[in-house]
């Protein structure tokens, strides 16, 4: 990198407890990234390059949740080094699927799973980044949508608000002309309580929405559950539907708790 490069905004990508899927979405933006290569310096992105440029960073994209005391410290360092911090994906914004531990006794689980659980250093909970440090923007999804990710980076470059809607998946579903799987097929769908962003892919393939993008702007899960119950969905399945990738996001968490036996 030439010396002139240092005047470009520095982008860093950080990984906490996660599957790497969201970082891979970024890697999948190859063409788009090449186009911004002149405008932005990729200072830290383990999935793409081993090269690490020291902070401070102009924009940090953070993937993953906080599950260890070490990570709880590390995210503070990242925050301290970052002008803007954007969390990406369900793990970073809601705790991820690993937040299922939050309903369990971690010590007990570890003793069953690991031969030497004493080597394990883990927190009792998996929590979103925003529980630990201030976050400038949360980009939802499991994984995030590649176009929304590019949009967030672009919005940052052009100093404007990212064009990311917080309304229901149903809006995208209707714009796309999908038949409604809830109404026409009797398939339970989380679309009405879930934030848009995926383009209503699942209903387009005759599946109900799984809630990958977490709670929409004004969710009413209790009303949706009443309808699911009327459709014959047992409480256990309602609980499981809400308690997945975004299960620890408060509206989904509370709704799943309401269906505990």
């Amino acid at each position: 990198m030439s010396a002139a490069a240092s005047s470009r905004p520095k982008l860093a990508v950080w990984k906490f407890a996660s599957c790497d899927g969201c970082q891979l979405s970024l890697l999948d933006c190859e063409d788009e990234l090449l186009a911004v290569a002149d405008a932005i310096e990729i200072a830290n992105f383990a999935e793409a390059t081993r090269r690490v440029v020291d902070g401070p960073y102009d924009l940090s994209l953070v993937e993953g949740s906080i599950t260890t005391a070490h990570d709880a410290g590390r995210i503070r360092e990242v925050r301290a080094q970052s002008k803007y911090l954007v969390t990406i994906g369900a793990c970073a914004t809601a705790g991820g699927i690993q937040a299922l531990r939050n309903w369990q006794d971690v010590g007990e689980m570890a003793s069953v799973v690991y031969a030497k659980p004493e080597y394990l250093e883990t927190l009792a909970t998996s929590t979103p980044i925003a529980h630990h440090v201030p976050v400038d923007f949360e980009l939802r999804g499991c994984p995030v949508n590649k176009h929304q990710l590019v949009e967030v980076v672009l919005a940052f470059l052009h100093r404007r608000k990212p064009l990311v809607s917080a309304h229901s998946v149903c809006v995208e579903c209707k714009l796309r002309g999908n038949p409604c799987v809830m109404v026409a097929h009797g398939t339970p769908c989380l679309g009405p309580v879930t934030q848009a962003g995926c383009g209503a892919i699942c209903p387009a393939y005759n599946r109900g929405c799984y809630g990958c993008f977490g709670p929409m702007e004004s969710p009413n899960p209790a009303a949706l559950s009443s309808q699911w119950t009327a459709m014959g969905v047992p409480d256990r399945d309602i609980l499981r539907a809400y308690r997945s990738y975004n299960g620890y996001a408060p509206p989904f968490r509370e709704e799943s708790d309401r269906h505990e036996p």
Binding site: A39, H167, C170, L175, V183, N220, A223, L224
Partner: protein
């Protein structure tokens, strides 16, 4: 009905109508079965229509079912409406480019020649909905050119309904089920299936409609055939799935803006926006600007929006309509009350889509009945 004497077209000759329209350069779109629902899409033969299908509709429930005949139009409306062609869900409005010297240039984003559509099977409520959207987009003195360009190219073939859907209430709204001269159309037809014969009674509603009819293998319709057609439509009118007492509903809602029923419906409402998106008269949009990575090419797009989203009323400091209650109230009062002030008619044609396609089956006819049953008198302390 139109002034023309009605003519009769046999089912076996129905394809001649589609062929005639295709010859005139129209792309014919009409009802067709897809993924367990009836949608609007391109049709080139009668067989592409939902032959022998009907629908069962209830609040939050839609199912296709076999009929015991081979009717072409033996069902009510589905989730989609013709507005998707006249007022597309997404439309590019403007293109902007910046050249190497930094100079900006702007051009029309809606620059493609719109398709010339023939709408086959437009129900009376839908013709009314189109007339209402005409007032919205063309009636203010400043025409929406995107809508205008699409609308004026359309050839519409109305269908008087032979069966009422489970959530239909056009009779209450005075918008159907018979296609009449109150709404512009090029052709209107009624389907009749008897023991021995399957035919359509057709009338023309425009000069172009008359020209099309003149080229078809039609015969003058007899009195018995015309009355058989009328009888079927009368039967439909008598078996509406829903009814709504629309008299004075405009005032009823305005006098009950603080009625506890709004809290009740807000408890059930998902604020998901489905009702507005399926409504054939809802017209609201938002505008989104997108730029490519270089920032040298930008586009402005218009897309359907809804008064159920928070962004819809976003201003400095947040959204004006935070609660689900205020958003449901906006929707219902706009449809049935303030639409009169804005556009001189009701904004509801009684098609029943918002009832069927509401995932939790919220039914405006029931909500209105609840206000009627227990109205409150506004107290002076309330705003």
């Amino acid at each position: 009905m139109t002034t023309e004497p009605p003519v009769l077209l046999l089912r076996e000759h129905f394809d001649t109508l589609l062929e005639a329209l295709a010859r005139r350069g129209y792309k014919v779109v009409g009802p067709t079965v897809s993924e367990g629902t009836i949608v609007y899409d391109e049709v080139s033969r009668a067989e592409d229509l939902p032959v022998g299908w009907t629908d069962e509709q209830e609040g939050g429930r839609y199912r296709l079912k076999r009929r015991d005949d081979a009717a072409l139009f033996g069902y009510a409306v589905g989730a989609q409406s013709w507005k998707q062609y006249l007022h597309p869900p997404r439309l590019r409005l403007v293109k902007a480019d910046r050249d190497a010297s930094g100079r900006m240039s702007f051009s029309d984003g809606d620059d493609a020649e719109p398709e010339r559509y023939a709408f086959l099977g437009v129900r009376s409520c839908e013709l009314h909905a189109m007339t209402i959207q005409d007032r919205v987009f063309l009636g203010s003195g400043v025409a929406d050119t995107h809508y205008e360009r699409r609308r004026k190219r359309v050839f519409s073939i109305g269908v008087s309904c032979g069966v009422a859907g489970g959530t239909c209430f056009c009779v209450s709204m005075g918008t159907g089920p018979q296609v009449t001269d109150r709404t512009p159309h090029d052709l209107a037809l009624t389907e009749v299936i008897e023991e021995e014969r399957h035919y359509f009674i057709l009338t023309a509603g425009s000069d172009e409609g008359r020209e099309v009819l003149a080229g078809l293998p039609v015969t003058p319709a007899g009195e018995t055939e015309v009355s058989a057609a009328k009888q079927r439509v009368d039967q439909t009118a008598a078996t509406m799935g829903r009814r709504m007492n629309a008299e004075g509903v405009r005032e009823l809602l305005l006098e009950n803006l603080e009625h506890p029923r709004w809290d009740d419906v807000a408890q059930r409402c998902l604020t998901c926006a489905n009702c507005t998106l399926v409504c054939p008269t809802c017209f609201c949009t938002t505008v989104e600007d997108v730029a490519d990575l270089t920032g040298d090419h930008a586009e402005r797009w218009r897309r359907w929006d809804s008064c159920f989203t928070l962004d819809f009323t976003w201003m400095h400091g947040g959204s004006a309509r935070q609660s689900g209650k205020s958003r449901y109230r906006q929707w219902l009062t706009h449809k049935l009350s303030t639409w009169h002030d804005q556009f001189g008619s009701s904004g509801c044609v009684g098609c029943g889509r918002c009832i069927t396609w509401c995932p939790v089956g919220i039914d405006l006819t029931q909500e209105i009945a609840a206000f009627r049953d227990h109205p409150i008198t506004p107290s002076p302390s309330q705003p």
